[in-house]
Symmetry: C2
């Protein structure tokens, strides 16, 4: 499977936001994350970087 | 393997920018894409959305 873990940078620290992420897409001015299990999170953030071989997506909070 | 194909939206159309992408990261105000084969592209774009199960990353040009 090719899901990834999504981390968000808060106060300079990477914090796990959602594991096993399939979809990340804009929802208004926020981002909606959907895991392969159907779990969803909506955050005020942007996608900062990807490292797919390491299954890692990094988000950054929007201020 | 968990690489993805990166498409960029230009004039409303999705255009394949780079296949087998591993890493996407900011480089100044642009994005650097690196494939699993070491091929690199730098574009003035932002990451719009991901669909990892479908191995698809969508970028949008920055104006």
């Amino acid at each position: 499977m090719c899901e990834a873990s999504a981390y968000i940078i808060r106060d300079g620290q990477e914090e796990l936001l959602l594991a096993d992420v399939d979809i990340i897409e804009p929802e208004g001015d926020q981002l909606r994350l959907v895991s392969i299990f159907g779990e969803q999170k909506v955050v005020r953030a942007a996608i900062h970087s990807l490292n797919l071989i390491n299954h890692k997506v990094l988000l950054v909070e929007k201020t």
